[in-house]
Amino acid sequence: MQRLQGSDPGAGGVVAWIDERIQARTLIGALLHVRIPFLAKTYYLGGITLFLFGVQLATGTLLLLYYQPTPETAYESVLFITSEVTFGWLVRSIHHWAANLMIITLVLHVVRIFFQAAYKYPREMTWLVGIGLLGVTIGFGFTGYLLPWDQRAFWATVVGTEIVGAVPWVGEPILELLRGGADISDATLTRFFAIHVMILPVVFAGLIALHLVFVHQTGLASPKRPDPRPREEVTGEPERTKPFFPHYVLDEVLAWYVVLAALVVLASLFPAGLEEEANALVTPEHTKPEWYFLSVYELLKHVPRLVGVLTPVILVVVLAMLPFIDRSREVRPRRRRLAILLGLIFLVGLVGLTIRGYVS
């Protein structure tokens, strides 16, 4: 029997069958077979953040199958997931811990970029998109926190939206926009749910696609020397490189396994809890926002309200504009003492305020 060409791919021939049609091999090859600086030290933080986002996407979708976003049923549905659904406690706890870890690794990633000056030419756009991703991630944390509709969630959201509302001029309208009215109500829950489950994931996906494309196009930064401008003469030894695939990718996957182990331990030993159901008439005694907002919360205790609200806004703007404020070509820490000093001060302040907010 004569075999018709291409009608019977056979094992391993699947790839060839696809490749014949869309040249997948060349495409994938172009994406994977790049080289990265030998001295690049990313600590895999960006990749871990991406991995955690993937975890959130998966666990979030699973939770979506049982969660009900109305004030009457939200709490019960979360209780149902945690106590009745098989492995429901696991999915919910992993979702809870991956959210916290994602914010930590994201901040560490930003810190790494800053201290290695990887935001400078030619990576300005990557940095801007990254700041957008930071905002979206904080938004994920803020909107998702309300969804269990227990006392902690409800009142932390009250406090959080009040802080937003304190921003001059735009604060009040934004507060009403967020809350879907003057107070936290079922409209708030619906809005937060829509933002958390559809709007932010779509925005995040778009931004991360841009971010990865930019990273691919510019390549990873070298911590020892800045990227040469076009038509610039390259002096000194050529940069040593190593392959992205499979070496770096393998290290990345190893890091992901470690993070997975951490998630399993945290979810098993410290499962996500549930307080009593939200009651708009009863304010609990010690309402605090979630830990990643504690620095702002603590700051507001010590400075006038306006200062405390505008400071984070201004700092974020400064952070976003960083590649355009710091235009020097230097990437080594020794040559950027001012930047390093400012960065350390900011970091110490942030961590100090957070710790203070936690213990008080």
Binding site: L79, S83, H247, L250, L254, Y257, V264, S268, P271, G273
Partner: protein, 509 residues
């Protein structure tokens, strides 16, 4: 002279004594002397009686303006003395008293202002109602004249009558919708009886508790008679050793009350549902409740407990009946527990512990239970008595229920500590708790069947809850074991990948 002559011969009231035929002729002087000798001592006697009566009543009411009713009788046990309102000219809407006194000096100004802001000032009850006098005039000689009824500062003995003059008058109090039984009640109280019978003016009178010029409503939180302030008010005299010395009353009640459940609720938690001194002793009719009254007094709030107690044998005994105070104390009521059943160490039993030496009858003495450690069932029920076995059975039954409940609660807490959801277990625990509390309350019936019924139910329900909590704990253990297994797999994967990575790195070199 012989009055017998008068009696023998006299058939009519006005029969003049006829001299006997053989007697010497009496002169008019002698007859006058006889009259004087008889009349003078009688007059002196009458006058001194009247004088002492007046001396005791220093309110010289001009008879033309007397408005009071007949004199009080001697004994306070029957009808209380009639109130004695002051009579004075009407004020016609003026208050000359205030207008003057507010500008005399600082002290008078303060008193006047206090009065104006008081309940009386706001209701238009003027100075003359308590001090007498003519409020229309601004001349001292007219306004503060005896003719106008001015009495100055009322004495302690008079105050009650003056206050009662308005406050016991139903018609007068109608518009302010105030009760009018305080005056009558006061004279049934220990304070009132001492005042009426012994003339003891050291007792509490109206002004001591309610104030003089600055009388406030009892519902005003700043008033001394506001429930939260009542214990301190009573203690201002009753905790003072000097004041109570003549009466031989102890002075530690307030101190004891402060540490009691009631005291902590009222003074610590500011809970006005808790009893004050007046709640049990009465306010105007203040008198310590006697032994049989106690059950009704406590039962005013503790209704369920009273109903249970009245099912018991104890409530049907007369002389030897334990009442609420016997086991729970009076001022020092504390949270009851199963410790109230038995002494830690058996007490010494003597005949006199339970029997009256005179007639060998059983008797219950208050002194036996003064020490809180003696407020136990086995103070009366000897270990070798039949009833003791029942007491012991009740104790065991309750103890078992308490232990089961506490055990279940502890398991739930442990499961919660490990992060498990325990809401359903906690809710189910409330049914066990209900049964336990009912069992504890049923102790007052002294019926083993009733108590054991509730206690056994509590045990069964607590055991169900414990099973739930144990299931959660097992689940937690399983999760940890599964975690270890998964970690092992991940570790294996890391090792495999590292090996693979090493191979690739080697190949590269």
């Amino acid at each position: 002279m012989h009055d017998s002559d008068l009696v023998e011969n006299g058939t009519g009231p006005r029969m003049s004594p006829s001299p006997p035929p053989n007697a010497l002729p009496r002169s008019h002087a002698v007859r006058w002397l006889r009259a004087i000798v008889i009349a003078v001592p009688c007059t002196v006697l009458v006058l001194s009686l009247a004088g002492s009566a007046i001396a005791q009543d220093p309110t010289p009411l001009p008879t033309s303006m007397t408005a009071s009713t007949p004199e009080p009788d001697g004994s306070g046990a029957s009808a209380p003395p009639a109130p004695t309102p002051l009579v004075h000219p009407p004020d016609d809407g003026t208050n000359g008293c205030y207008a003057c006194h507010v500008s005399i000096d600082d002290r008078q100004a303060e008193l006047s202002t206090i009065w104006l802001e008081s309940v009386h000032g706001q209701a238009g009850v003027g100075c003359a109602s308590c001090h007498g006098g003519d409020p229309r005039s601004d001349e001292v000689t007219v306004a503060m004249s005896v003719a106008a009824g001015y009495i100055g500062i009322p004495t302690r003995a008079d105050t009650v009558g003056i206050c009662g003059g308005c406050h016991a008058d139903v018609q007068r109090m109608r518009s302010s919708n105030l009760p009018t039984d305080q005056y009558a009640k006061y004279y049934t109280s220990v304070h009132g009886q001492k005042l009426a019978e012994e003339g003891d003016t050291r007792v509490a009178i109206c002004a001591d508790c309610h104030g003089t010029h600055g009388v406030k409503k009892a519902s005003d939180p700043t008033a001394d008679v506001y429930p939260l302030n009542v214990p301190q008010l009573c203690a201002s005299c009753h905790s003072d050793a000097e004041k109570m010395e003549p009466y031989g009353i102890p002075t530690n009640q307030f101190a004891i009350y402060q540490k009691s459940v009631h005291g902590e609720a009222l003074l610590g938690n500011q809970d006005t549902r808790a009893p004050t001194c007046a709640s049990c002793h009465g306010s105007h009719a203040a008198k310590p409740p006697n032994s049989t009254e106690v059950v009704e007094v406590c039962g005013r709030c503790h209704t369920a407990t009273q109903a249970l107690y009245e099912q018991s044998k104890h409530s049907r005994l007369e002389a030897v009946a334990p009442r609420c105070w016997t086991c729970h104390g009076t001022h020092d009521v504390s949270n009851p527990s199963t410790e109230l059943f038995f002494h830690r160490e058996l007490p010494e039993y003597e005949c006199t512990t339970c029997h009256d030496l005179a007639n060998r009858k059983l008797r219950l003495q208050a002194t036996q239970f003064e020490n809180p450690d003696d407020r136990r069932c086995d103070t009366c029920h000897h270990p070798e008595s039949i009833i003791y076995a029942q007491v012991d059975a009740i104790y065991r039954s309750l103890d078992a229920a308490q232990v089961a409940f506490d055990g279940a609660a502890a398991q739930i807490d442990e499961a919660a500590r490990l992060g498990m959801i325990v809401r359903d277990a906690r809710v189910q625990l409330t049914t066990a708790r209900t049964s336990l509390i009912q069992a504890q309350a049923a102790v007052h019936t002294t019926k083993l069947t009733v108590i054991a019924g509730f206690a056994d139910e509590a045990v069964a329900q607590a055991d169900d809850v414990r099973a739930l909590a144990d299931a959660r704990l097992d689940e937690s253990t399983f999760r940890r074991q599964a975690m270890v297994a998964v970690l092992a797999i991940i570790a294996l994967n890391i090792v495999i990948l590292t090996l693979w990575k090493r191979r690739h790195d080697l190949e590269l070199r």
